[in-house]
Symmetry: D2
Subunit: 275 residues, 4 copies
């Protein structure tokens, strides 16, 4: 099975990188399932119904979020109507929406996706390790999924790596998100789970984490209030990670990053052929 | 000029990756200057005199540090005797050692190196932006350096990117360190400064940021005291970034990551030839 | 019912303030129940079996802890044998010990005590609001307790006040601990719960939160490693809060702080008479 | 000399507590100088020109601020025209306004006031210890002031206490602000500086740090966006600390808290007589 995870879509540059490229990639690579983190898709802050539908239509099978999940308030109600939109699993009980779901791929495979959020230097949430452990035990006992993909939305490398090793052998892929910088550490862990610390953002890399540079720089220099953050508007890079998952075991057999367009060095999973 | 920056050396695995490969790389690539962050070289915590000398002998021209600078107390006195060892520039005045220096490359070029530490989710230090700005003005006015390399040791991508854009056009390279995950966002910024968010660690990537996995995972699951952190002992990956700097302008003209050995995908600056 | 809560006992000065005064106070005031936070009782860090027994013998009915709970490792096993020693309720499941208990007062009244830890600027734990809510519903439904005392061990006033209002009318007393500074905001909240933001420490107030001053000051000035923290050894102040709880409703009818000995202004619950 | 410091004025309740009581207190107690922290005076967030003038007219001689200094943008320009309004001293150079000033009391005494902000769990600022040390050396060498008052606006008790001991014998009073909970630890330190960890807020104590309770409680329970914070509107308590400063030495000889009106227990510096 061919799974693609794309990192935090930031603003129009990120959306255009995705909508212009994903439909073609899905077809030429015959992708089984595509997950997109889109917590910054709406002007850098959150997601709207219209944008979520646009991303699903462009070829995303499931959208994940993070600490910016509800920056656009319409998402608080929309998420209850859209099962393909996930917010972090370990938000307090009572939070609108779901943190995980099982979806049918076109091939008939059943793909479990969970969105989980780290706690180090982030909001006070329930334990992401305990939350994902409960889920994996439930899913594993029921033999419900052919592949298991976890979006670990977290600040520190340590928390991401620790969670990945914690679920090693029980998940197909742990892909980090949130830092907006793609890491070059994609690997298959010792028990078979594919891992990357951060998939990177889909957005303009002539920026400060996808935002126009002036105001973020100013806020480091001065401690006075200023302008709002606005997404940078240069050509975006589509950033993510592709993984081949073995039928039967649900483990990763090949993994490689994807970077197309924009300012970064270009690459793709060569085991899928040229894009 | 060919400059190489290598990220946080972690324990024996990191040191061996460096000592076994750097002498050959220096020669085959005719490198002008090599800077190595070694804040975790001594058992994962700090640096000793013996280890610093070992790294310099293996081909490092300058060693930088970070928040672990003085984990080994002997560094508090040794750093005053070793001008090639730098600790962050923006530590309080009175801190032993220096935060920046100008060094002669074999070619006769003069290389300025600064080590600066971020503040977001880290210790309370003086402003790294103001500190580096003062330095660059002083160096620039005096036309003292042919190349300027900054090790920005910080937790968040945003602080690293903002600092790099802040000095864009005034430095040859801003290389991030501290997260222990190499990023895949090496680029030349719009005014000519080379940039990578994190050079990655030199160490064993079957680990949690270079440390044996069991105890870090346990600390996320339990909140009780446990064992000490120990570096992982598998084969290390040499991780860093190479940059070609133009004589005269001191700006970057080519930049590419380096990853040799261990578990990560292998790569090197192809404009320097095969390693 | 007369309940007394004493704040964080710090080192020998704190223990002596308690052991020299509490036996007399219990008798002259005919106290029904005494709870003592002792997370810093052993040299400033944690608690030992010998010290816990000493405090219970001096008149404490129940000992609570906090983020320093297991600084002394013997507490990891001792807490399983000592039902009167509580660690925060919202530690991960599997943590040794208990976070709450129901105890018999000499009068026959049943006193429920819970120790709960805040999360803002502290460790990543389970939600203290959800944890205490579950407990209060269980206790309330079963009519199991005549008085309910909560030690809210937290850094920020906001989290303490919010939790107190959240349980207002359902608990007899919410007493804060952890900052080591007694607050002067004791009051009965609108629905009848007694509240104080922090009971203060039992320890020497010529100090930095109970520790000898030199090293803490030095660490603010310098960022180099130094000496260990040692408790200050001057005369300690016994610090806490007394509350009269109404039989039947279990709500607070009178509340006042206690400060005896040492450098702070002296005061006590005048409705209990002179000490 | 009789100095009064009043803690963070929060919203209308805080302003009314101050304007209704301060004019009478100034007169009956023949106060020499009154400093008021007013960072939350304007609807809980910052200060406006009109509100600052109102507080000065009611009897404040100097207004200090903190992390909310510029929540109302008009303060960015107004502060340059109003020398009696101070923002933290250790903000970046280039920040509008001043962090310290020397003022003439009616008696002819010269009163130096500094506003300094802590860094632990707060914004990344310049070192408050180094900043105040430079100021005290300058002022001391020039024999410019008869009394020295420092508003230490900080989150943790440890940073406040450490700073107070650091300046002990060199200042008349170090009064903490920011937590919005008055502490009961007023004392004269061993070398003669008056100290209180927090002067408390002037505002409604049936609240979460001065704000209406519902939304702060909800934000601890849920992690979704909600309503704005609004100040509570019940009767405010005037909270602060009074100190008698010796002419000649500039050191404190008597210190006591002040709490008038509202829900808290009432008290005042008895050495000044009844209010
Ligand atoms: Fe995020
Ligand atoms: Fe994001
Ligand atoms: Fe490091
Ligand atoms: Fe580091
Ligand atoms: Fe404590
Ligand atoms: Fe504590
Ligand atoms: Fe405030
Ligand atoms: Fe504040």
């Amino acid at each position: 099975m061919r799974l693609l995870f794309l990192g935090d879509v930031v603003g129009r540059s990120g959306r255009e990188a995705l909508t212009s490229r994903l439909p073609g990639l899905r077809e030429v690579w015959r992708l089984d399932f595509v997950v997109v983190n889109a917590e910054n898709a709406a002007g850098g802050f959150g997601i709207t119904e219209a944008i979520c539908e646009e991303l699903l239509e462009a070829g995303a099978d499931c959208i994940t979020l993070g600490n910016h999940a509800f920056d656009q308030r319409e998402a608080l109600s929309y998420i209850n109507r859209q099962p393909r939109l996930l917010r972090p699993l370990n938000y307090p009980s009572g939070t609108p929406g779901r943190g995980a779901g099982i979806f049918d791929a076109a091939s008939g495979a059943r793909i479990y996706v969970a969105n989980v959020q780290g706690r180090v230097f982030m909001e006070q949430l329930d334990d992401p390790f305990a939350a994902i452990d409960r889920e994996l035990k439930r899913i594993g006992d029921a033999h419900e999924a052919d592949a298991i993909l976890i979006d670990m939305h977290a600040e520190t490398t340590a928390e991401k790596m620790a969670l990945a090793h914690f679920v090693d052998g029980r998940a197909s892929l742990v892909a980090g998100s949130h830092t907006h910088a793609p890491t070059a550490d994609a690997q298959i862990l010792v028990k078979g789970t594919g891992y990357i610390s951060d998939a990177g953002m889909c957005g303009d890399y002539d920026s400060v984490i996808g935002m126009r540079k002036e105001e973020p720089i100013r806020r480091f220099l001065e401690k006075t209030p200023g302008a709002r953050y606005e997404p940078a508007t240069g050509e975006g890079t589509l950033c993510g990670v592709g993984v081949d998952v073995e039928r039967g075991t649900g483990l990763a057999v090949r993994i490689a990053p994807l970077r197309l367009g924009g300012r970064l060095s270009q690459c793709w999973p060569e085991f899928w052929g040229a894009p």
